[in-house]
């Protein structure tokens, strides 16, 4: 069904970014525009999500060029869910940024770049054209370069060099893959490619092309052995920026992997084994990396890597149960990882730094906020009935059904290490006696903030925690949703019919 309004989440973010540019030096106005725009975008994404839920897959042909000749935008359940999650985290991060990002950074166009990034993310989720996907990826990485370097501290620039080099390389490899795919099939429309790639006789060439996409998206989504840029750059920018990076940037790579490898290249035994091997190594190396670090944000960076393995493994097993587990985990992960980095920003403002050896006593100083943070931590670990618990059951079930015992083993290791690391952070940061005296806490940045400032820091964390709690306590609703998405992934005919007509 054709519905031109599906592009609204992209357009709204574009307009917010441009309007914010008009108030270049006027920081208070920019703050208002960003939060207000975030709310409008959230409403648009909710209405898109509801519409897709009721009416099925929606499409939009850019400039009315019919598919497969023009660029087509497609909103199926998977895309619209991702857009909804992007808008939720975008709104929360933008509220958090109003206080947590210093006004020097805000004066250099932080908010407009931030909304350009969200525009790129929404565009990447909604496009149905593989070259257009590349263009949205470039919008995302250029915005993320600026966000990463804004402020120009030494560590930030060092992290940015690694991030930039790896991401440009990933884009080049992705583009190479697109070039070869175009040479093979003569099409760029993903639904059309799905039919044409299946008809190509030279399967080796198809698998070779698939490898280009695995490497390209693998670098972006940080899987073993391509993730090393992530832990060395994600801890450098301000926490609000790290939140949007950790929550969404790696997940857009995962989204692309799920999209390409269910629609265009359906994984055969070779690709499945490759994905599962990568997943096992990603989980184990990420988990071990998280154990040895003492900086909270570095620990969280390694936890991102570790949990990316859960998602890739779900894709690699490629059964409906496995996909349900992976997609459920994806929804849970975006919310929780965004929240984790916001929490790390909160801890930095409350306790003065991010090294767990130097922190302590936050529970006695801020008991209510600590309990709030505990909800976030427990959701990540997946203590039943919180949100991390349900997807893991499905992943375990799938790995036992398909005899993937290595993956089940890695899942156990990953989950236990997550529990251990979170327990360590909790004990060190919140329960350990504080190295600071009480007077010093009174002097900490957090106590100096006005009530409005404090609530701007805490409300986003509460909002995301509520979403996490909803995912945990009303898992049935989410399960119905991911079941439908997984069905659309296993049987892609509805998607293809919606784009190309019958």
């Amino acid at each position: 069904m054709i519905d031109n309004l599906l592009i609204l989440p992209v357009i709204i973010q574009l307009f917010v970014a441009i309007i914010a540019l008009f108030f270049w030096r006027n920081v208070p106005v920019q703050r208002f525009i960003s939060v207000f725009g975030g709310i409008v975008a959230l409403i648009a994404s909710i209405s898109l999500f509801v519409k897709v839920n009721q009416q099925g897959i929606l499409t939009m042909n850019a400039a009315n060029w019919e598919a497969p000749f023009g660029i087509v935008f497609v909103a199926d359940l998977f895309s619209s869910t991702m857009v909804l999650l992007t808008s939720i985290s975008g709104l929360c991060v933008s509220i958090f940024s109003t206080v947590a990002i210093s006004s020097q950074r805000l004066k250099f166009g932080y908010f407009s770049i931030f909304h350009f990034l969200l525009m790129g993310l929404n565009g990447a989720f909604l496009t149905g054209d593989i070259f257009n996907l590349y263009v949205w990826f470039e919008v995302i990485i250029i915005s993320s370069f600026v966000l990463l370097t804004l402020g120009g501290r030494k560590a930030q620039l060092e992290g940015a060099v690694k991030y930039m080099a790896m991401n440009i390389l990933a884009s080049m490899i992705f583009l190479t893959g697109i070039g070869i795919l175009y040479g093979l099939t003569g099409s760029l429309n993903m639904a059309d490619l799905s039919l044409k790639v299946a008809a190509v006789e030279n399967r080796n060439l198809v698998n070779l092309t698939a490898i280009f996409f695995i490497i390209g998206f693998g670098i972006k989504s940080a899987v073993f052995p391509l993730y090393f840029w992530l832990p060395s750059s994600y801890h450098t920018p301000p926490s609000a920026v790290a939140a949007i990076f950790g929550g969404l940037l790696t997940k857009v790579g995962i989204y692309a992997l799920f999209r390409i490898f269910t629609l265009i290249f359906v994984p055969d035994v070779f690709l499945q084994t490759l994905f599962i091997a990568m997943a096992v190594m990603t989980i184990i190396t990420g988990a071990f990396g998280a154990i040895i670090k003492t900086n909270i944000r570095r620990i969280f960076s390694y936890l991102i890597v570790c949990h990316i393995g859960f998602l890739i493994g779900g894709l690699g097993m490629f059964s409906e149960v496995a996909l349900i587990g992976a997609l459920f985990y994806l929804i849970h992960d975006i919310m929780v990882k965004t929240n984790l980095f916001l929490v790390s920003g909160l801890i930095r403002i409350m306790g003065g730094n991010l090294n767990i050896d130097k922190l302590g006593g936050l529970y006695t100083a801020f008991p209510k906020i600590s309990l709030l943070i505990a909800i976030v931590f427990f959701s990540l670990v997946g203590i039943p009935p919180l949100s991390g618990f349900w997807p893991k059951i499905h992943l375990f079930e799938a790995s036992f059904m398909l005899d993937q015992y290595f993956f089940a083993f890695a899942l156990i290791i990953g989950s236990f290490v997550t529990l251990y690391v979170i327990a360590k952070i909790w004990a060190d940061v919140f329960w350990k006696p504080s190295p600071l005296s009480e007077d010093e806490f009174e002097l900490s940045e957090f106590s100096k903030l006005s009530t409005l400032g404090k609530s701007a820091l805490i409300i986003p964390v509460i909002l995301l925690a509520i979403v996490s709690l909803y995912i945990g306590f009303f898992a049935e609703n989410i399960l119905v949703l991911v079941k439908q998405i997984a069905e659309q992934m296993v049987d892609t005919t509805p998607y293809i019919e919606a784009v190309l007509g019958n």
């Binding site: 990485i141 370069f145 120009g152 501290r153 560590a155 620039l157 930039m164 390389l169 190479t176 070039g179």
Partner: protein, 118 residues
């Protein structure tokens, strides 16, 4: 012509990757540039090179009856060139800032210990 392009693409890719693996920041930059050009030529080559056949439908017919040059690869390359131009200029500015701040061209020196970072 095709053989020549294949060789050129191979040279650009291998030189690009080689330079990316070096430790100097300037070579990193050159590597990115060469790789970008290699990718563009690859798309050009794989879009099939057709000489002297414009992709214009004749006045008397509604569809293409003859062999024609595919315009899409050129549109893709144009987009990719603009994007890589933007990326490269950003990379140049970034690396210049890093050089001004750290006074080194060696990528191995870009590891400030954790304690010095706030």
């Amino acid at each position: 012509m095709e053989i020549l392009l294949v060789v050129l693409i191979g040279v650009l890719y291998s030189a690009g990757f080689y330079l990316l693996l070096r430790r100097s920041m300037v070579k990193l930059l050159l590597g990115i540039t060469l790789l970008g050009n290699g990718v563009n030529l690859l798309i050009f080559l794989l879009g099939r090179i057709t000489k002297g056949k414009p992709s214009v439908i004749g006045e008397s017919s509604n569809i293409f009856t003859d062999l024609y040059a595919d315009p899409i690869p050129q549109a893709l390359i144009l987009t990719a060139i603009v994007i890589s131009f933007g990326l490269q200029s950003l990379a140049i500015v970034l690396l210049k800032r890093v050089y001004a701040l750290l006074n080194t061209d060696d990528l191995d020196d870009l590891n400030t210990p954790e304690d010095e970072d706030i």
